[in-house]
Amino acid sequence: MLSRISQLGTRLLRETRAAGNLTSHGSSYYQGQLSRHLAPAKSILFSTAASSHHDETSQNKEKISVTFVNKDGTEQTISVPVGMSMLEAAHENDIELEGACEGSLACSTCHVIVMDVKDYNKLEDPTDEENDMLDLAFGLTETSRLGCQVIAKPELDGVRLALPAATRNFAVDGFVPKPH
């Protein structure tokens, strides 16, 4: 099953490349001229592409184990191919990680908290653009990252990522209603 997913991923990648400019017009809502705005995401795409190629030869050897800790405290451990972002991995495994902008560094909804600072330190520093988005992330911590910018690599094997819990109260400040 897992190897089928990675094959699927590679096929999609090939299709996307083959389709090239064809897909850039009107294939999906509002995406016509995206590439110009996606400089930071683009460089990451290239690295993803390179390691996916690598995957083709080594099959499912290059995978790491990633544990997501959900809002309710339950855990899901999944196997993630090297080169894949945590956002894509979460979506392929039905983990409730939002991805409003689908990895284009324009929102903060795929915010994850790296639970072990040692793992956090293994990551490249966030770019200014990622930090701009983290500014707006809900429940930001010292080891917060965007899931779309954390790419699986062998050193991260066993990493634990927590989804921030929704605890902020939007209610009227200090107001206590009488029970009805």
Binding site: Y29, Y30, E98, F170
Partner: protein, 499 residues
């Protein structure tokens, strides 16, 4: 191409291969009468609410109504045309609309096509998510002069909102525009005025707006804030973008960057304030060579509040804004630093003023409303009968988004806001307080359709919006744009009704 293209393709396939809870749960719940939910407003707050309801309750049927024939609220009419990546979220919203347990009814106005009391009789749960369609005002002399618009009007205009396509702001009689406010909306309108039109030409900006901007004579934009750079309400992302515009000379007075101990404390407590301030300081110290080229100018004007709008020679168009210099003082009640006037005035000449000091929600009949705060009084999304301490919870009536918490935050803020409101709904449903007793079941969608038929309202379902969507994309291709927005009510409804 960026990942934005790769992911939706991948996800569509995934949905196809492995049906999610979305498509399977409808049948599981068929044994019981569905929980009928109506969401009023199809912006991010409305769609996130619908999505969370569908995920959280197997037996729910969600109808989303919107007064426009087009869905997605401010993602369509608020997000700037040069921010296409922010609009990608409509892919997710469209998947919600495609759910068998969810329906969209465009061109249905709460208040005229259907009243709030009718909705409450028809649905077990009504969630108001209609946002903020008006503006705060200064209430100072001269505010009615020609050439003064709210930023919302200007944004709706360049985004092709059918209520504002005929705004026709005059961009050809002046060299200077003043934007009052320094939040992200202020930065958006300033950026649209300053950005090269060759760059805007490949966005989904309204065609007439692009034409008007092409012949614009505006060379200088002044962004005016009552307080200092530490208190600027914008985010680092928007600021970084405008500071990096091609062919724009950024002017920030270094004297304005001096910080007080209170400022420093604000920055220590807020990562975003610290980063915004750092960006402004950096921009101020980069001494750009001011050559005699045709570069436009962006001026940050801090510590000034408008006190009067002054007419130009013709007497009816704005010619200048009178500004009073301000100082920051600690407000004992809120603990925040507030701007107080110094009695020292100056005039800033301009021919266009965009007021960007906040959106304002509008009340509707039968809805409790806090006029002072411009929101519906609520407790975690449950609407309360008033702001007073003796308020009762209005059963089955909920609020989300800007109408709930005021007009601030980004698209994603609505995600958490919707989670909170949906948690309240699910809790109340479990307690059995939202459903009517079995002998007076509410009809839900069937009831809405009857009301709309009686009123002779021709609603626009989601697949008719898809006709508009397809037509706009086709028109866009001709102009090398992602879409060419249809901007009049007549044309939108005509395309929606085409066979």
């Amino acid at each position: 191409m960026g990942r934005g293209v790769l992911l939706p393709r991948a996800r569509r396939l995934m949905l196809f291969l492995r049906p999610t809870s979305f498509s399977t749960s409808a049948s599981a719940a068929s044994t019981r009468e569905p929980l009928h939910v109506c969401v009023v407003g199809s912006g991010p707050a409305g769609f996130y609410t619908a999505e969370k309801m569908l995920k959280g309750h197997e037996g729910v049927q969600v109808d989303i109504i919107d007064r426009l024939p087009t869905p997605f609220g401010l993602v369509r009419s608020g997000v700037a045309p040069d921010h296409p990546e922010t609009k990608i979220v409509v892919n997710q919203f469209s998947r919600v609309a495609a759910n068998a347990r969810c329906s969209f009814f465009g061109n249905v106005t709460l208040g005229s096509d259907v009243s709030l009391s009718e909705l409450r009789r028809t649905y077990d749960v009504v969630v108001l998510a209609y946002g903020a369609e008006s503006d705060r005002s200064f209430g100072i002399p001269g505010e009615d002069l020609r050439g003064i618009h709210s930023a919302r009007e200007f944004v709706w205009w360049y985004n092709g909102h059918p209520d504002m396509y005929n705004l026709a702001p005059d961009l050809r009689s002046t060299e200077s525009a003043v934007v009052l406010g320094q939040g992200n909306v202020a930065l958006d309108v300033a950026r649209i005025l300053l950005r090269c039109t060759t760059e805007l030409a490949s966005t989904d900006i309204a065609g007439y707006a692009l034409d008007a901007l092409r012949s614009s004579t505006i060379k200088k934009v002044f962004l005016v804030g009552r307080r200092g750079p530490v208190q600027a309400a914008c985010t680092a992302k928007e600021l970084r973008e405008i500071l990096g515009l091609k062919n724009v000379h950024v002017c920030i007075k270094e004297a304005d960057l001096v910080t007080s101990p209170a400022d420093k404390e604000e920055m220590t407590n807020s990562r975003i304030k610290r980063r915004v301030y750092e960006l402004l300081s950096k921009a101020a110290t980069v001494h750009q060579e001011k050559s005699n080229d045709d570069r436009k100018e962006l001026h940050f004007v801090f510590f000034r509040k408008p006190t009067r709008f002054l007419p130009s020679e013709d007497g009816s168009t704005v010619g200048a804004v009178e500004l009073e210099k301000t100082l920051l003082k600690d407000d004992e009640v809120t603990g925040k630093q507030v701007a107080v006037g110094t009695g020292d005035f100056e005039e800033l000449k301009c021919g266009l003023v965009l007021k960007s000091i906040g959106y304002k929600s509008l009340p509707i009949e039968g809805l409790p409303f806090d006029k002072y705060r411009g929101v519906v009084p609520n407790l975690r999304g449950r609407i309360l009968s008033s702001e007073s301490e003796t308020a009762k919870v209005e059963p089955g009536l909920y609020v989300v988004g800007w109408l709930k918490r005021g007009p601030t935050g980004i698209v994603a803020t609505n995600l958490h806001c919707a989670e909170e409101t949906v948690a309240s709904i699910l809790e109340d449903d479990k307690k059995g307080v939202v459903r009517a007793s079995s002998d007076s079941k509410r009809p839900g969608r069937r009831g809405l359709l009857e009301i709309l038929e009686q009123k002779n309202t021709r609603y626009v379902p989601f697949n008719d919006w898809e006709k508009i969507d397809a037509k706009e994309k086709t028109l866009g291709q001709l102009n090398n744009k992602p879409r060419e927005k249809i901007t009049t009510w007549d044309e939108l409804l005509k395309v929606a009704n085409e066979e």
